[in-house]
Every structure is written in C-alpha cells, then in structure tokens.
C-alpha cells in the first residue's frame, strides 16, 4: 500500500470514529441533570451506537422468530433475482428494438409512458397480483431494472459503429455472426454502464416491496416497517446498516465483473 492510500484510509477511519463516538457521547448527555428522559439529542429518535450493537447481537440470536440473517438473505435473494431477470430481459429487449427501426417506432410511446410512471405507484398493484411473497418483490425490482438496462442497451445497439459492421461483412460474417461478434459486444459496454445504478434501484424496489409485503415476504424492509410500529429506532438502524453493507458488497461485485468483461477498455488497461 502506498503512503497516499494509507493517508486516505487513516482519514476515513478517523471520520468513522468521530461520527460514532460523537453520536454515542451526545445522545448520552442529559439536558437537565438527573431528569430522566430529557436529552440534548434524544436517542429515542436516532438511537445510539451501543444500543444498535446490542439489538444487532440480539437479532442474530436464534431465539428470535426471524433473525437478521434470514431477513438479509430474503432481501438479497429478491434483489439478485430481480436484478438478473431485469438485466437479461432488458438487454434482450434493448438489442431487439435497437436493431429494428420498425419495432422501435411502434413501441416507443408505450415504453416512454410506462417508464415515466413512478414505479412505486405500481407496488400495490404488483402486490395484488403476485401476493406478499418473494415473487412480488422480484417483479418490483425487475420492473425498475428492466427499463434502466433496456434504455442503455437500446442506445448501445443503435450507436454501433457502421464501419465495424461493414468490416465484419467484408470478412465474411453472416447476419447472425454480425449480431454476436459486433453488435452484442459493443452494446454490452453500454449495458454495463447501467449495472451499478440498476443494483441500487433493485434494492430500493425490494425494500419498498417489503414495506408493504408483511412478514411472509420478510426482509429488511419488513424489519424497518415493523420497528416503525414499535417505535424502535435501534432496529431500524440495524436494518439500515445491513442494507448499506449489502449495497456496498453488490456494487463492488459488479465493479469486479465489469473490470473483467470490459478489460479491453482503455480505463481497465494496465500499461
């Protein structure tokens, strides 16, 4: 590790310690000494690190009905499935419409209309159709990811360099070979640009689905909404913390896949 990276890391750790320490300290200060329940900053609303850690440990114990791991797993599962199905269908549709002017012209108004719908507004309908379980959450994540990936792939498929297609044709490529060797790889570069936002939006979709999905859907969104019912800020913070970790891990995973599949791009070339 270079000195520069060490310095950055040191600063990052310092900020973390200051924020957590400050949080813990300030939420412990009484407003009027010895009067219970009166704080400068009331931990009732934002909890305190020590209380969050306590609840975290408690939620890990097998004695609770739904452990934090089960809930995290449910959220991750729905997100990953929604994400994968969203990418593959969005990519296929983007490619198809991107390479066919006729289809693109016919479908354009419908796609624009559907995409401008706030996806959150669909949640009750999706729940009505698909129930409260995993499937509804997957469908919700899919409906968001699909359009992000679709629009990017569509752009990518439209902007394939015509001279690359021509040169493939001169080298004897059939239409199918042009599709697999020219159009798909050039469009993929665009598709990848949409993956990082897609995963965050998939996670948003899933959590919103869990808000109204109830216990059968499980998940961290359920923990949050349940904690709202019991006015338990510590549990909410636990859920938020786990969601943050999930988001980071997924984003890093995508970066890895991207660096591998787009290794031909100048920004990934080690000279």
């Amino acid at each position: 590790m270079t000195r520069d990276r060490l310095r950055v890391l040191a600063w990052q750790l310092l900020i973390l310690v200051v924020v957590l320490g400050g949080w813990q300290y300030l939420t412990g200060l009484k407003a009027v000494s010895k009067t219970p329940g009166l704080y400068w900053i009331d931990p009732f609303f934002i909890s305190r690190p020590s209380a969050i850690a306590e609840r975290f440990v408690y939620l890990m114990s097998p004695s609770v009905r739904l452990t934090i791991w089960q809930m995290a797993l449910s959220t991750v599962q729905s997100t990953v499935w929604g994400f994968l199905v969203g990418i593959s269908t969005g990519f296929a549709a983007g490619l198809l419409l991107g390479r066919s002017d006729g289809l693109a012209r016919v479908f354009e108004p419908y796609i624009v209309a559907f995409n401008s719908l706030p996806r959150i507004a669909l949640v009750p309908l999706i729940t009505m159709i698909f129930g409260f379980g995993l499937l509804a959450k997957i469908v919700l994540a899919w409906s968001i990811v699909f359009f992000i990936v679709f629009f990017n792939t569509f752009q990518g498929a439209r902007s394939v360099d015509a001279d690359l297609i021509h040169s493939a044709r001169f080298l004897g490529a059939s239409e199918r070979q042009i599709m697999t060797s020219v159009i798909v790889p050039s469009a993929l570069a665009w598709t990848f640009a949409s993956l990082t936002p897609s995963i965050s939006f998939a996670l948003i979709g899933v959590v919103v689905g869990e808000f109204i999905g109830g216990e059968s859907g499980g998940g961290l969104g359920y923990l949050i909404i349940q904690s709202l019912g019991t006015l338990n800020a510590a549990d909410m913070m636990v859920a938020l913390f786990v969601l943050g970790v999930i988001g980071i891990v997924m984003a890093l995973g995508i970066k890895q896949v991207e660096a591998r599949l787009l290794r031909w791009r100048p920004e990934y070339q080690k000279r």
């Binding site: 004897g172 570069a189 070339q269």
Partner: protein
C-alpha cells in the same frame, strides 16, 4: 493477351440527396482494373474517390452505371472475393490482436488448428509478435492499422479495396507500412484498388494512377506508373523516374487542387 479485367466500372455515377438538394458526387467514371494490378485513385478531398470504392464494395448503390466484379454485377452485398481496409480504425476494441486477425477465419468456420497457424503466420509477417494478447487500446495507430491490414489479408481476398488506410498515420509509420504492404503484395499479387489523396503514396505503390477531378468526380487522367518492381519505398523517391512521374501527374492534379471550389 491482355490480362482479364477483374473489376469493370462503366459509366458510374452517384448523387447524394434528393430533388433540389441533389449533389452529384461522382459522374461518368469508367475504368477497368486487371488481374494482379495495383491501381491507386487520387484526387482532391470530396472528389468522390471513397464513394467509388464504397460502390465497388457494395456498401452504397450507384445512381447510374454499373460495376462488374469478375463479370458479376455488384448489387448490395459485398462480393465474397473482396477484402476492404478502412481509413477509420475498425479493429474490434474488445478483441485481442490475435482474435482480431482471426475474425475472418472464424466467420468462415476455418478449423481452430488451421486458424491458429494462419493467424501466427500473419502476426509474424506484420511484425506483431509479442502483441498477440494485447488489446487495441494499448497499441499505436500504426500497429492497429497493421492489425486491420492483416485481418483483411489473412482470409486471402483476391481483390483488396483500401480506403486511405494510412491517411491518419505519421510520415514515418506510413513509409514502414508502404514497404510492408508492397512486400506482402509482391508475394500474393492481389488486385488492389487504393484510394488516397497523397500523390507520392499513389506513385510509390501503384501500377496505374487514376486522377480524379474535383466534385463531381470524373476521371481526369489515367496514368501508368513505369517504375520497376520490386520497389524500395524510400530509395524510389530519390530517383529521376519517380520525379518525372510525380511531375507529370502533379501538373494535372495541381489544376484540380488550385481550381476555386
């Protein structure tokens, strides 16, 4: 016996746009390119020389006249015996050097073993050893154009169309590639049509130079280059014969460059 014409261009015309915005690009162009012949088309920019090449390749349709390749009229699809090298960088950025050169062989379902052998040979011929696994983003413009050239040549096209392939390169790299192209061509003697705006490039490489007028492009002059082969691309420029050829054509071409647009 006159050698047989591989490419015949008869009364070729092309206009772009429609109605009152119609712009004639090429008009009344006729010439033959024979077996094993290296023909260069030179002219001021915008004279339609690349348009002619695109029509021969079947990329765009002529507005008038016809093009025959081996007696077959070109319509739409590129004739299979033609290879094409573009001015623009058309190396696939997501494929390594090796896999770029292998493209045509993959498309033609050449068995893997033979493919590897032919690609190896092409890489050696182009002096690209050590860069087999490199992605184009890490190569210089000259090396990328070498890859593009070998990618076209590895499938053994009988007719090679080249559209200012070295136009974007610096003089030094250009001369290197001229030498390389000539030695490859001496070995195979493909029929070549080479478009350029660089007269010295045309004379160095070609057997015959087609000089075009300004837009709309017509043939101004068909000139046989009487320089012996094999040619040394650097030394040949110092010979009197070369200067004579150059001046003869420059005289005609110069009128076109000087004429007000």
């Amino acid at each position: 016996m006159t050698p047989r014409a591989r490419v015949s261009i008869r009364g070729l015309a092309k206009t772009f746009g429609q109605g009152s915005r119609e712009v004639p690009a090429v008009s009344a162009v006729s010439f033959d390119v024979h077996e094993r012949e290296f023909v260069a088309i030179v002219g001021p920019s915008g004279c339609g020389k690349s348009t002619i090449l695109n029509m021969i390749g079947g990329l765009i349709a002529p507005s008038g006249g016809e093009i025959l390749v081996d007696g077959q009229r070109v319509t739409g699809a590129p004739p299979s015996q033609i290879g094409y090298v573009f001015q623009k960088d058309t190396v696939f950025p997501w494929r390594t050097v090796e896999r770029n050169i292998a493209l045509g062989l993959e498309y033609r379902n050449v068995p893997a073993e033979e493919r590897t052998a032919r690609v190896r040979k092409a890489i050696a011929l182009a002096g690209l050893q050590g860069f087999e696994e490199a992605f184009p983003a890490t190569l210089s413009g000259g090396m990328r154009q070498r890859v593009a050239l070998m990618r076209s040549l590895v499938v053994d096209p009988e007719i090679l169309l080249m559209d200012e392939p070295f136009g974007a390169l610096d003089t030094h790299t250009k001369l290197d590639l001229h030498a390389e192209l000539l030695s490859l061509w001496e070995a195979k003697r493909q029929t070549v049509i080479f478009v350029t705006h660089d007269l010295s490039e045309a004379i160095t490489l070609a057997d015959r130079v087609v000089v075009m007028t300004r837009r709309p492009g017509r043939i101004k002059l068909l000139h046989d280059v009487k320089l012996p082969r094999p040619r040394d691309v650097i030394r040949i420029r110092e010979t009197d014969d070369y200067s004579r050829e150059y001046q003869q054509i420059w005289h005609t071409l110069g009128e076109e460059f000087r004429a007000p647009p």
